[in-house]
Amino acid sequence: MKLSEVPQDNNPGYEAEKRAVYAIDDNGRYTVATSTGWEAEDVVNTLAVEEFRRLAQEAHERVLQGEASPLEFHMYDRRMDVPTLAQATGIWQWRLKRHLRPAVFRTLSPRILARYADALGLGLAEVQTLPVEPDA
């Protein structure tokens, strides 16, 4: 990649940060250049971010319908999935999946709730509550 080819696409996701990349200058020598982003990277990263947002929004709906516990919303809202949250809490996946059901979630002890809250970076009350808007 030549210096002139280093993308400067101003990825909004970078929040004005810059990435360092290796490119060839006019003398054929490698140098470290900065890039404000590459559109191709922005496209795929946005897809990944949007996928979590979609999952969180769907979970939000399901909680409102009484089909899922707030835990399912918070999990996707924090860009986790069942395996990730299971690993972060040390709770087995099959147990976690049960806790995604509202009836089971309601019976959870403060100790288990605290483990979820801690892994999700939420307060004890927060993890049991659904925010009004999924994008809050």
Partner: protein, 332 residues
């Protein structure tokens, strides 16, 4: 507590190679980031269909976290002190004590919980590397080499980022070089480090590693379900490109960094053939970029998903990788 230790922050392409380079320079052994990548033999390609992150297969362009600075240590006789901790308070205390003793340290931490990371980049990746070179009250002074300038991080956030549980959990890993050689004997180390990388890429016994894996991935792409919205297929393509562009170095992954290593190695060992192979490696990096472009085009396309261009480019990449690694084996 208020401490600021002298450190030359540098903007580097990748975290583990960048931190290694900066810490070693700080300890009296100047070594560039490309040289770290090359001498550690850390660059590979692997695609594991059965190892899943967020339900998508794992693609990686480098050895697992920790291998770069450890393989480098073995290659050039550096000794690292590494500590892990059973509880967060012990880990934070050890960090403070190291700073008070005048020691700049590397840490492993989760990207998600570092507040200075842009929101769109905060995913649960637990094997990020950064340097702490001071503390100012409640904030730590961070030299995170993937950022252009030094950053700050509140103590609570750093504690959380260092002690998350999960895949590649850091357990508060703290490391710094305790013994560095006077210099690097390039004549002795360049050849075996290149041969090691070439052998991994050309002769790995597992079909999921190396050039075979690139070709295998091209075949998998062609088997992706492409009817309708093809959401899974798009996520699949997206994940490959994200591993190439985000965890790595942008624009072709590590290939450009490796080409820079070959140029530097050519100079240090007076081996003109490495110069030419550096150009060939640059061309390979450009091909990876073309592949990424083809994938992103499909990801955003409103039409039916068509993976043929991406698969073709990937096969071309496989061929070019094979040629450059064979060339490297002949040249060293």
């Amino acid at each position: 507590m208020s401490i600021e230790l002298p450190l030359s922050h540098r903007h580097t392409g990748h975290c583990e190679t960048g931190v290694s380079s900066i810490l070693l320079e700080n300890a009296g052994l100047p070594i560039s980031e490309p040289m770290v990548l090359g001498l550690s033999s850390g660059m590979i390609f692997a695609h594991f269909p059965f190892l899943r992150i967020n339900e998508l297969p794992l693609t990686t362009y480098r050895m697992p976290p920790g291998f770069i600075y450890r393989w480098l240590a073995g290659r050039i006789d550096v000794r690292w002190q590494q500590q892990r901790f059973r509880n967060p308070e012990a880990g934070m205390q050890a960090l403070d004590e190291a700073l008070e003793a005048g020691q700049v340290v590397g840490l492993q931490a989760s990207v998600y919980w570092l507040p200075y990371f842009p929101q769109a980049m905060r995913f649960h990746f637990n094997a990020h590397n950064l340097i702490v070179y001071g503390r100012d009250g409640d904030e730590y002074l961070i030299s995170d080499p993937v950022f252009q300038t030094p950053q700050r991080c509140p103590r609570d956030a750093l504690r959380r980022a260092r002690f998350v549980r999960g895949a590649l959990a850091p357990k508060g890993l703290m490391y710094f070089p305790v013994a560095v050689p006077n210099g690097i004997n390039y004549a002795r180390v360049v050849t075996p480090s290149i041969r090691k990388s070439a052998n991994i890429m050309l002769r790995a016994p597992l079909p999921w590693v190396g050039v075979r894996a690139v070709r295998g991935l091209a075949r998998r792409l062609e088997r992706l379900p492409t009817e309708g919205e093809a959401r899974y297929a798009r996520l699949y393509l997206g994940q490959i490109v994200r591993m190439q562009e985000e965890i790595g170095t942008g624009g072709g992954g590590f290939r450009f960094m490796y080409a820079a290593f070959l140029k530097e190695a050519a100079e240090k060992t007076h081996n003109r053939a490495l110069d030419e192979l550096a150009e060939q490696m640059t061309a390979v990096g450009d091909e990876w970029r073309q592949f990424a472009l083809a994938c992103s085009k499909q990801v955003r396309s409103k039409h039916a998903l068509d993976v043929s261009e991406a698969a073709d480019r990937l096969r071309s990449v496989a061929e070019s990788e094979k040629q450059v690694w064979r060339g490297l084996l002949k040249a060293v």
